[in-house]
């Protein structure tokens, strides 16, 4: 059951080749397939460490592929990509179980960051997650916790931080900037030089950044509590919070979930 490291499911041959090339340049092997059904077949027959899958394909779309792979018991992490990079697609991909989402066009490094993170996703033991009271999450990437005064705290998910590897620094948006649900709001620079972009769990205006997050320590060690990133004024909380998942433990927990 040998396989390559990465399965690339993409119907545009140039993009597919580019993705495979980037992976191979890092010493990772990649199989390329044009359509979803053959991809599902390959997933069954061979072991992959990561799937890179386009949303728009000719036989079935990426979400359907994700659902079908899960139904067939696949635990391989899937990263979704698309040329129609809307926040709806991003949010939908995350809540449908993709571990990440990358919009086309991407640079080699952007793709690599996502691939590296995705490869590390399934590795290592997982401790049960603890979340803030009332928090909701965008996949396992980021979380938001509404505060009584109507504002909300935003931060990175532990799984995201872990899979980014040792952190060198965190670059945050300045207070006053707007963030949007499903779009990048912060950049985590890893020790290996890759830059990982964190997708914001909701839209709004940044009111305050966490001083403690200026050093990577608190963010890497306690991203859900001490390592929070922003306090935002949400622009459409009623609608957007509804699109997020409740926080009740992680995706795979060893014991029951924490509050």
């Amino acid at each position: 059951m040998s396989g390559a490291d990465i399965l690339v499911v993409e119907d545009d041959p140039v993009v597919a080749r580019a993705a495979a090339m980037v992976c191979e340049g890092e010493g990772l092997s990649a199989d390329v397939v044009e359509r979803a059904d053959p991809a599902l077949e390959l997933l069954r027959r061979r072991a992959y460490r990561l799937v890179l899958c386009d949303i728009m394909m000719s036989d079935r779309d990426g979400f359907s592929f994700l659902a079908e792979a899960a139904r067939r018991g696949s635990r391989v992490p899937v990263v979704m990509t698309t040329g129609y990079a809307t926040v709806e697609n991003a949010v939908r991909a995350m809540t449908a179980g993709a571990v990440d989402f990358i919009a086309k066009p991407f640079t080699a490094d952007e793709l690599l960051a996502v691939v590296r993170r995705g490869l590390r996703w399934g590795e290592g033991p997982r401790a049960p997650e603890r979340w803030r009271e009332g928090a909701r999450r965008l996949g396992l990437m980021s979380w938001v916790a509404p505060l009584p005064d109507g504002t909300a705290l935003v931060g990175a998910g532990a799984a995201f931080v872990r899979s980014a590897g040792p952190l060198a620094s965190v670059a945050l948006s300045a207070p006053g900037t707007e963030v949007a649900q499903g779009l990048p709001c912060a950049e985590f620079s890893a020790a290996d030089g890759l830059v990982h972009r964190l997708m914001s769990p909701l839209s709004g205006r940044v009111l305050e950044t966490n001083r403690a997050a200026e050093r990577p320590g608190p963010v890497a060690e306690d991203p859900h509590f001490e390592g929070w990133l922003y306090r935002v004024a949400p622009s459409d909380p009623g609608f957007e919070l509804g699109r997020l998942a409740a926080c009740a433990g992680g995706l795979e927990t060893t014991a029951g979930g924490a509050p």
Partner: protein, 497 residues
């Protein structure tokens, strides 16, 4: 009949009905007139007969035959009398105003005699109308004849001549004939008059009715038909002039209402069609461009990583990467701008929406040292809007206002009100700040997409998207500003009709 205009049909029907009614009336009138005339002549004849009998009685008793004959001749030649003759019991004409008749016999089966002599025994008494007959001798003018029995009396049976015995009841009959010519002429004249009256009345009625129908029904209906044709041809700005409070006036008002609503609905549909197709176009373009851009960006960035040993090449490749990333941002902004969701509208209280927006930015207002104040119109009518989108609009306007204040802070005031406009009532929401203001050249362009005075790469709503949202709601947004003093952004949306 089907293709004639309504007014013509109504008028014709009215005229015909009038004609029929008047005609019937006239006919009935005429008949009674004729009958009374004839009855009059009958009465006259009867009276004359009585008078003749009375006047000749004495001569008869004295057996003055010549004097009788002369008397009868003289009476018979009077105008209005056609003839008088006296018949004996046997039916022989004894005396007559026309000497040629004398000696002739009238058989008892003749029409004049049949009334009394038709049975087995002759009748002795009969009312006048039964004793009269009307005929036209030789097809000429009509005559009325009346037979009056001469009854036996004591003075007759005891007279010296002993002609009549006591046992006889009827001695003979008097036959008086009167011409009906004048009566007939009278009736004919009356008939003509009535006919003329009927016709003129009908004509006058028709004319009058025709005029009124034409004015009250024909013209408004023609106007409505013309207007309907124009609307059907696509022209929705048609409006009918107001006319009165009757059914046609109400119809005209409903018509105006209908075209107005049609026009609004078409505009909305057009807008959402436009938006939808713009969105689709943008989505299609973005999708199509993003794939080839990926090829360029990925390969260029990959090569850039691998040419650290050739810095000039690497630098040039980095230019390609940078410019391609820039294209990526442009496409994304285009997608964001075109992708505004079609608003889900419902009646909403804009005062409440503004309050919600204010509560969201409350903290930030404190941080920015902005003094927020509100002046809500308590009688604000509802507006049909997407409350979420409008909330985003107000949040953005408030935050922009606060941003313009600078380090020392300032005042931001929001006011709501309603005002009447040419297309109905509009609700006005104004956000005023005491900030740095906007210079005139920038003011013209701030609602353009991609235009920014702050240089920030915002990923959220910009003024262009706000403008888009307000437009989708059929409203307008304007800005008034004085650099150094402050700005006022005013949003107008139509009130619920």
């Amino acid at each position: 009949m089907r293709s004639l205009p309504l007014s013509v049909r109504l008028t014709a029907a009215a005229a015909l009905t009038a004609l029929a009614v008047i005609g019937l009336f006239a006919a009935v009138n005429l008949r009674s007139h004729r009958e009374s005339l004839i009855a009059e002549v009958e009465r006259h004849a009867d009276q004359l007969s009585g008078a003749v009998i009375a006047s000749t009685e004495y001569d008869m008793m004295l057996n003055q035959r010549d004097r009788l004959q002369l008397g009868i001749e003289r009476m018979g030649s009077r105008p209005g009398v056609s003839g008088i003759r006296l018949l004996n019991k046997g039916g022989t004409v004894i005396y007559s105003s026309d000497r040629r008749d004398i000696g002739g016999t009238v058989h008892k089966d003749a029409e004049s005699c049949a009334m009394c002599h038709s049975g087995s025994a002759p009748l002795t008494k009969l009312e006048p109308s039964k004793r009269t007959r009307v005929w036209s001798p030789g097809g000429g003018p009509r005559m009325l004849g009346i037979i009056t029995p001469v009854y036996n009396q004591d003075s007759c049976s005891t007279a010296a001549c002993h002609v009549h015995s006591r046992s006889q009841l009827v001695l003979g009959v008097l036959d008086v004939t009167l011409p009906l010519e004048e009566a007939d002429r009278d009736v004919r004249r009356a008939a003509v008059q009535l006919a003329l009256l009927a016709l003129t009345s009908a004509a006058a009625l028709a004319a009058c009715l025709g005029l009124l129908v034409s004015r009250w029904v024909g013209e408004p209906v023609a106007e409505l038909v013309a207007a309907t044709r124009r609307v059907a041809g696509g022209e929705l700005q048609v409006e009918l002039a107001p006319r009165g409070d009757d059914e046609l006036g109400t119809l005209a008002r409903s018509f105006n209402d209908m075209t107005r609503r049609l026009s609004e609905a078409r505009l909305q549909l057009f807008q959402s069609d436009k938006l939808a197709s713009l969105g689709r176009l943008a989505a299609g373009v973005a999708h199509e461009i993003n794939n080839p851009l990926t090829g360029v960006l990925t390969y260029a960035s990959y090569l850039a990583k691998r040419t650290s040993d050739r810095p000039e090449v690497q630098r040039d490749l980095e230019v390609i990467v940078r410019e391609t990333v820039r294209s990526r941002e442009i496409v994304k902004s285009l997608l964001d701008f075109a992708r505004q969701s079609v608003p889900k509208k419902e009646p909403a209280d804009l005062n409440a929406v503004v309050r919600r927006a204010a509560s969201v930015v409350d903290n930030q207002a404190r941080l920015a040292k902005a003094e927020l104040s509100f002046s809500f119109d308590p009688a604000l009518p509802p507006a049909v809007v997407d409350p979420n989108q409008m909330q985003q609009v107000f949040i953005n306007l408030l935050v922009n206002a606060m941003d313009s204040l600078g380090a020392a802070g300032g005042a931001v005031s929001v006011s709501t009100g309603v005002e009447a406009g040419p297309q109905g009532r509009r609700i006005r929401v104004a956000v005023k700040d005491t900030g740095c203001g906007i210079p005139p050249e920038a003011r013209r362009r701030i609602f353009e997409p991609f235009y920014s005075t702050k240089g920030q790469k915002g990923t959220g709503l910009g003024l262009s998207v706000i403008w888009g949202i307000v437009e989708n709601h059929g409203g307008t947004i304007t800005v008034d500003s004085e650099p150094g003093k402050g700005s006022t952004f005013t949003v107008w949306v139509p009130a619920e009709p």
